[in-house]
Amino acid sequence: MIIKNMIRENVYKFPPSGIRKYFDLINEMQDVISLGIGEPDFVTPWNVREAGIYSLEKGHTHYSSNAGYIELRREISSFVDRKYDLSYNPKDEILVTVGGSEGIDIAIRALAGPGDEVVIPEPSFVAYKGCTAFTGATPVTINLRNEDEFKLTPELLEGAITEKTKVVILPFPNNPTGAVMSREELAKIVEVLKDKDIFVISDEIYSELSYGGKHVSIASFPEMKDKTLVINGFSKAFAMTGWRLGYACGHKDLISQMNKIHQYAIMCAPTTSQLAAIEALKSCDDDVEEMVKEYNRRRRVLVNGFRSIGLDCFEPKGAFYVFPSIKSTGLSSEEFCERLLKEQQVLVIPGNAFGDCGEGFIRACYASSMENINEAINRIGKFLEGLCINS
């Protein structure tokens, strides 16, 4: 009996995440500064944690309704309205999920299957491709370009769409590049999509972390509202990664089908997290603003740092990542990251972990203390000097 022959091919053949080897390396090392993390360094605001504790004290340890507590859905509805001018009915257009990730997974499962194509701009979060491949649908990737500051252009999108296209993923603000799409840039994308029967899954998990102006959702274009599913959550905005809580907003006919999958696969999102999240939406605007200000300062320090040691990088306007080019070193992304880790104990993620077109870049996360960021830049500077001397 060969076990692997018993496992579905499109699961078995899908490559594992390319960064596994760093886990092993890092475990043997000391004094490592990691800019390889993809989550806030802030702890969830105390009033939110306190609300979670209180809910446990009161014994709220049961299931909620499948779609999530209605009070939470009402707060989500009012939040996306006041923040992004999006109007969704809490009754049947909002689904509370286990992180944004679950929303992505069940949305793709609801919309695409064998024979269908899902368009995925890259570099981007690794889950889109995986979730697509597991359904049996075909991921069609778009190689975003440094010269466009890694924004999606209508030409690139047009080139990827075929008759089989069912879904376009719109991953902005973007992990790993930090790119955002302005209203004008989105308008051009809308022109391409407005007359087509293609769903947009707009992953806006980093929406609150926008530094160049207010985040714009493609769902705020009336012609796109019905065929856009907005994915968002609490992890990034409220520093709540470990609570695993997200939400999806969209047309009721899609939400009800996603809820069916959700109901059978998950039942409901964790109750404690949901009750804490109500508090987050009700009273954390100031905390979020403080965190965003601090990220913004670190962002400037890290961008300035990379430029000062000779690594070219465009100014990212969202999320908490900087995506500098390391092509001038002549190293591949993986060589760069491995040697940097071994020689200077700084961890960054190779750009190609987020798609082939990320080759020649690295992702550095500034959700880390200012001291760490400065020290990391120092060490990367030394590493680059070492490269020059050796070559």
């Binding site: 995440s17 960064i19 760093y22 886990f23 890092i26 490592v32 990691s34 390889g36 993390i37 993809g38 989550e39 360094d41 979060f125 690794v126 992990n175 790993p176 200000k293 300062r297 670190r298 400037r300 320090v301 300035n304 961890l347 993620i349 972990a353 987020f354 992702r363 880390s368 203390s369 200012m370």
Partner: protein
């Protein structure tokens, strides 16, 4: 440049150059703004937050509730000034509610603080009564939790 003040309030040791990078301003702009704030006393000074309990130094802090008689034409301000001029007084606030002034006093020993209250504060003509509360332990001061050194326990890699 109000954000400049927020940054400095958290860490006054940052250089103008460092702050400039954080805020997307030039070093000169930051220097000028700091100078302006210092001149008009918006920045009233720079201090270090010390957790004295970790040192051998003897120190006690007391919070004193003071009831006073306001003075004709000058209200509470003149009385408060008579009190906050004493170097032992570290903070002094005018309060609403059951008493008038909160006076925070530091001294080497409880006796020293008690003497200050008995000999300097209570005998003042405008002071009607005092109630002295000694601080037993400082958990948090000026937004900083003393016992807690923040630790980063996140997984080193996550995409």
């Amino acid at each position: 440049m109000e954000e400049l003040l927020e940054v400095l309030e958290k860490n006054s040791r940052l250089s103008a150059k460092e702050i400039g990078i954080m805020l997307g301003r030039s070093e000169e702009e930051v220097q000028d703004a700091i100078k302006k704030y210092e001149d008009d006393n918006t920045i009233a000074g720079y201090t270090t937050l010390v957790n004295w309990e970790r040192t051998g130094k003897e120190a006690v802090t007391a919070l004193i509730e003071v009831k006073v008689t306001p003075q004709r034409g000058e209200g509470f301000d003149k009385v408060a000034e008579r009190i906050y001029r004493f170097p032992e007084v570290k903070s002094c606030y005018l309060m609403s509610g059951g008493f008038d002034l909160t006076v925070i006093v530091e001294g080497k020993t409880m006796k020293e603080v008690a003497l200050f209250v008995a000999e300097k504060l209570a005998p003042l003509e405008a002071v009607l009564s005092t109630a002295t509360h000694f601080v037993l332990k400082k958990y948090k001061d000026k937004g900083t939790i003393f016992e807690e050194k923040p630790k980063d326990d996140r997984e080193a890699i996550f995409i």
